[in-house]
Each structure stands twice: as structure tokens, then as C-alpha cells.
């Protein structure tokens, strides 16, 4: 129960601060909507397909790329940097708060944001005739795996490379944007040259995108080989990012845990 209460306390604190600041939440609403609309219309025009078909393709990539990436990964880095800048993290070091509760608290907070963004993106897509016909359970699992992966990576990047607010921007831009483009978040991977397509096979965002695309409209289960591969890659990446995030957090504790 200790972990539960601590997790809820951390998540509630982050969400209260986000709601109070408003700006960040509003931008996390505006950005995916605008990206979805842009992606959908550009795809429809460029590929000479119907708007519904275009939005069908654009919705999963917008969710994992434009929405969850910036809220879960960017948000986690921001939370850690804000704690470091205001030094409140030192108060947490002094307290009996467990590291696992701290991680889960951040995960829960950004999972709430992510769920909201998912509902929003799919609601907008539904307005253009897109229907979710796949497995709800698998869809939710993929979304949670994506959020967990981003939070884990956020822990890793936030604790190791981000000390000031400016670092958040440079990290998200320098590390994230190329990954997003190669993952098909802004343009479909079919537009990429062959050489880059090879690189996308090692890009976790590409696999998140493809897994969610498959599960959203076609697959009811993981019987499809390609879908299973994307899903397994995503789960593997989740484990790697959680492990690296945890190790990075432990390293931060070892070096910074003092008044």
C-alpha cells in the first residue's frame, strides 16, 4: 500500500501542476490535433487516396509520434529537470519515498495525459469516418507500452543529460525529431528511400507506429507475423528503456543524493 499511496501522490502532484500551468496541457492538445489534420490532408492529396483512408493511416502515427512522444518523453524529462532546478528532488531524497513509486507516479501522470490524447486523436479521426475495428485490448497494451517506453527513456535522458530547462528542448529536438521522421510519425515510411527504410527497422517509434496501425484496423490478435514482430520489438524496447531508466536513476541517486 505504501507504493500505491506514494505513486498516487506523485501522479496527483504532477497533474495538479500541469492543470494549474495550463499552457503545456493546451499545447499537448493543439499539437496532435494539428499534426493529425496536416498528416491526414497531406497524405490524402499526396497519395491520391480518400480522406478517410488517409486519416486511417495518419492516426496511429500521430498518436505515438506527435502526442505520446512529446507528452510522455518530453514531460518526463521536464518533470525531472524541474525537480532538479527547484531542488525539490533533494526533499524526495531525504524522504522515505521509494524510487519505484517515483517512476510509477510519473508513469501514471503521463499515462493519464496519454489516454486523454488517445481519446482526442481517435475522436478527431472518427469525425473523418475512421472506425477502430481492431482489438481494443491489444490497442491499449500498445499505447501503454509506448507510454512506458517513453517514460523509461525520459528517465534515462532526464537523469543523464538534462540539467536545465533548455536541455529539454535540445534533447527532444536532437534525439526525438529524427527518430520521429524515421518512424513515420510525420510522413509515412513508404515515402522514405531504401537506405533509410533499413534504419527504420531499428527505430522503436516505427514499430510502435506499425503495431498500432495493424491493431487499430485489421488485427484482432497477434497471428500476423509482421504485427507480432512489431509488437515484440516494442515490448523489448519497453524492457530496455525501463532498465536503462532505472539504472540512470540509480546513478543519479549515487551522485546527487546529498543536501
Amino acid at each position: 500500500m505504501k507504493y500505491w499511496y506514494e505513486t498516487i501522490a506523485i501522479a496527483r502532484r504532477i497533474l495538479t501542476e500541469l492543470v494549474r500551468q495550463q499552457r503545456t496541457l493546451i499545447l499537448w492538445i493543439i499539437f496532435p490535433i494539428s499534426m493529425l489534420l496536416l498528416n491526414g490532408f497531406i497524405l490524402a492529396e499526396g497519395s491520391k487516396i480518400t480522406t478517410t483512408e488517409a486519416f486511417k493511416i495518419a492516426t496511429p502515427s500521430t498518436l505515438v509520434g506527435a502526442a505520446l512522444f512529446f507528452s510522455s518523453l518530453g514531460g518526463t524529462i521536464s518533470t525531472i529537470v524541474a525537480e532538479r532546478e527547484s531542488k525539490t528532488i533533494k526533499r524526495l531524497f531525504i524522504s522515505p519515498l521509494a524510487g519505484i513509486s517515483y517512476f510509477l507516479g510519473i508513469f501514471c501522470a503521463y499515462a493519464c495525459v496519454g489516454i486523454g490524447q488517445s481519446l482526442l486523436v481517435y475522436a478527431i479521426a472518427a469525425m473523418f469516418g475512421v472506425k477502430f475495428a481492431g482489438s481494443w485490448l491489444l490497442g491499449i497494451i500498445v499505447i501503454f507500452c509506448s507510454i512506458g517506453s517513453y517514460v523509461g527513456m525520459g528517465f534515462f535522458l532526464g537523469t543523464q543529460f538534462a540539467r536545465r530547462t533548455e536541455d529539454v528542448n535540445s534533447l527532444v529536438a536532437g534525439f526525438g525529431v529524427p527518430l520521429l521522421i524515421l518512424g513515420g510519425a510525420f510522413v509515412p515510411t513508404s515515402f522514405l528511400p531504401k537506405e533509410l527504410l533499413l534504419i527504420t527497422q531499428f527505430n522503436p517509434i516505427y514499430h510502435m507506429n506499425e503495431a498500432l496501425l495493424g491493431i487499430s484496423y485489421n488485427a484482432k490478435d497477434l497471428s500476423d507475423y509482421d504485427l507480432r514482430l512489431h509488437f515484440l520489438f516494442l515490448v523489448g524496447f519497453l524492457l530496455v528503456s525501463l532498465a536503462s531508466g532505472w539504472l540512470a536513476y540509480r546513478r543519479m541517486l549515487a551522485t546527487e543524493r546529498r543536501l
Partner: protein, 313 residues
């Protein structure tokens, strides 16, 4: 309440704490003084279980230092470590939950803490909107929310105006009356004099001396200290020496240790014929003891009483 035995700590090859022994009984305010880098913060870090000592034993309320003792300690750090976008109440609620307070008890403690730091009417105010003094009191409230038995105050009034300082001092005294043990570090010697029952002075990781103010005064072999401002310091020093008064410098002040209590009139007559801009006779203060003990010199200026010294051997 707090017992420290033979505590030593190295950072690489550098020994930052040398065989520290300290015992603070319950309900006492203990002042730990020393220059920056003397080892005060390292001791606090060790008590808070943030860093591990290389040797020594520490116990709080007869419990060995560990995860369980975290809940027994409340820390008031130098900086106001607060969530500025949360209200006072929300800040306390957050930390109370982290310290395993639940339900009715949590709400009672939040209310009581806000009232005890005179922020009851600011419960719903965002911390970012509070004044510096209020934030410092809020910082104290967070340290107290889980009813700790030992409160560590790390320079609690640094940077505050005199009124806010008085409020913090009053709060600290109230905590003592409630039976809470307090370990206070400060650079304000007046603060230590006013608040602490016992004082320890650290230098280069060693606890040079500890005791109450009366005991510490015995370190300086003087009944009173004469402070003089004169353009002819050399002549005054010569006169002082002829009278058997040893001279010292406290910043720009020229001081003489008076072996016995003398009135100002007597002192002025003893220095007759010397141009004096100002002169005063004052009791031996903590400031004098502190300066004598911590100043860098080749040889100690004073012989310290062995009973007060913590350096063994």
C-alpha cells in the same frame, strides 16, 4: 536522542570528518558551528542517510541509522525546497502522504502545521506567491508535518530580514517546548547564542569544542573584552601590554582581554592620553570564542580546557 560515536568520513584521500562524537539529549537545541567546508553538511547528509560514513556509529532514538530512521527526522534545508505551483496545503498533503500519513490524521497534521507556522490563513495560497519569510516558515512546516523527533535546521534564517528571523526563532523555541530535539547549523552566532543549550564548533572535520555558553566562555581567559577604535593602535597596544591586557583583532576592531571585570570609566582612565574614537567593554561572546578557535594561525592563541575538547589524545 541523537548519538554519534567516532564518526569519520573520507572524500577520496581527503578526510572531511575526523572521529566526531556527539550526543544530543531529547528536547535540546544543539548548535553546530563552523566555517563553510568544516563538515557540517556532511554530518547532516550522514544523519539523513544520504551518504554513508567510513566509520562510526549513529543512532536516533536508540535506532541504528537506516530507512526506519528517515521518518524520525525532519529537515529544514538552507533552500526553500517547495513546489511553487502547489498551494501550502497541497505541498503539505504531498509530503504527508510520502511520510505515510493517512486520512483524518493527515488532515489534522496539515492544519496544525500551517497554524504553528502562522500560515493558517494562507492554506489555499500558491507557495510561489508567498514572501521569503513565509516560504521559509512553509519550509519548516514540511519538515514538521510527519511529527519528527529530531529536526535538523540548516541555516534556517540565512537571507531573512530581522522580523522574519524573529518569527523563525520563536518557532524554533516552540518546537523545543514541544520536546522536539533540534540540531541547528548557522553562521549567525547571535542565533546560536539565543537558541542553543549547547554548541559545538567544527573545524576541518574535527569537533574542536562543545558545551554550553558558560562552559565555552572558560576557553577565553578573560572576564570581559575591551573593544576600541583608535587611530593610534600601536600606542594603545603598548599601553595594554603594560597593563597586562593581551590584544587581539576581531575584523577591524582592536580588542583587549581584561583579566577581571572593569567598568568603562576605569578602562577609559587606564587608556588616558590616547586618542580614542570609540570604546566599549563587553562580556566574552560566542563570536570571540568562535573567532579564536577557527582562525587560521600557526599556533593556537588559547589553551582550550581538555574537558571541553572532543579531540581525543
Amino acid at each position: 536522542m541523537l548519538k554519534i560515536q567516532n564518526l569519520s568520513k573520507f572524500y577520496g584521500d581527503r578526510q572531511v570528518l575526523k572521529d566526531i562524537n556527539l550526543h544530543i539529549p531529547a528536547g535540546e537545541i544543539y548548535g553546530l558551528l563552523g566555517r563553510n567546508g568544516a563538515g557540517k553538511t556532511t554530518i547532516i547528509n550522514i544523519i539523513c542517510n544520504l551518504i554513508t560514513p567510513d566509520s562510526g556509529i549513529i543512532s536516533i532514538d536508540n535506532l541504528p541509522l537506516g530507512i526506519t530512521t528517515k521518518a524520525l527526522i525532519g529537515i529544514v534545508p538552507q533552500d526553500n525546497l517547495l513546489y511553487e505551483n502547489l498551494t501550502c496545503e497541497e505541498n503539505l498533503d504531498f509530503f504527508a502522504t510520502i511520510y505515510s500519513l493517512r486520512g483524518q490524521r493527515k488532515q489534522q497534521r496539515i492544519k496544525k502545521c500551517l497554524e504553528s507556522v502562522n500560515l493558517g490563513d494562507r492554506a489555499k495560497s500558491l507557495v510561489g506567491t508567498l514572501s521569503g519569510g513565509m516560504k521559509r516558515r512553509m519550509n519548516m512546516a514540511i519538515a514538521l508535518v510527519h511529527e519528527p523527533k529530531l529536526v535538523i535546521l540548516d541555516e534556517p534564517t540565512t537571507g531573512l530580514d530581522i522580523e522574519a528571523r524573529y518569527q523563525i526563532w520563536e518557532l524554533i523555541n516552540q518546537l523545543r517546548y514541544q520536546g522536539i530535539t533540534l540540531l541547528l547549523t548557522t553562521h549567525l552566532l547571535e542565533e546560536a547564542e539565543r537558541l542553543c543549550q549547547r554548541i559545538g564548533i567544527l573545524k576541518d572535520g574535527q569537533l574542536l569544542i562543545e558545551g554550553n555558553l558558560a562552559e565555552l566562555r572558560t576557553v577565553i581567559p578573560a572576564a570581559a573584552i575591551l573593544i576600541m577604535d583608535t587611530p593610534t593602535a600601536e600606542i594603545a597596544i603598548a599601553r595594554g601590554q603594560s597593563l597586562g591586557f593581551s590584544h587581539h583583532r576581531y575584523g577591524h576592531d582592536l580588542a583587549f582581554w581584561l583579566p577581571e571585570q572593569k567598568s568603562l570609566q576605569e578602562v577609559v582612565s587606564l587608556f588616558a592620553g590616547i586618542t580614542i574614537d570609540s570604546i566599549s567593554v563587553q562580556p566574552v561572546r560566542l563570536e570571540n570564542i568562535y573567532v579564536e578557535l577557527t582562525r587560521e594561525r600557526l599556533e593556537p592563541a588559547i589553551a582550550t580546557s581538555p574537558s571541553l575538547i572532543n579531540i581525543m589524545g
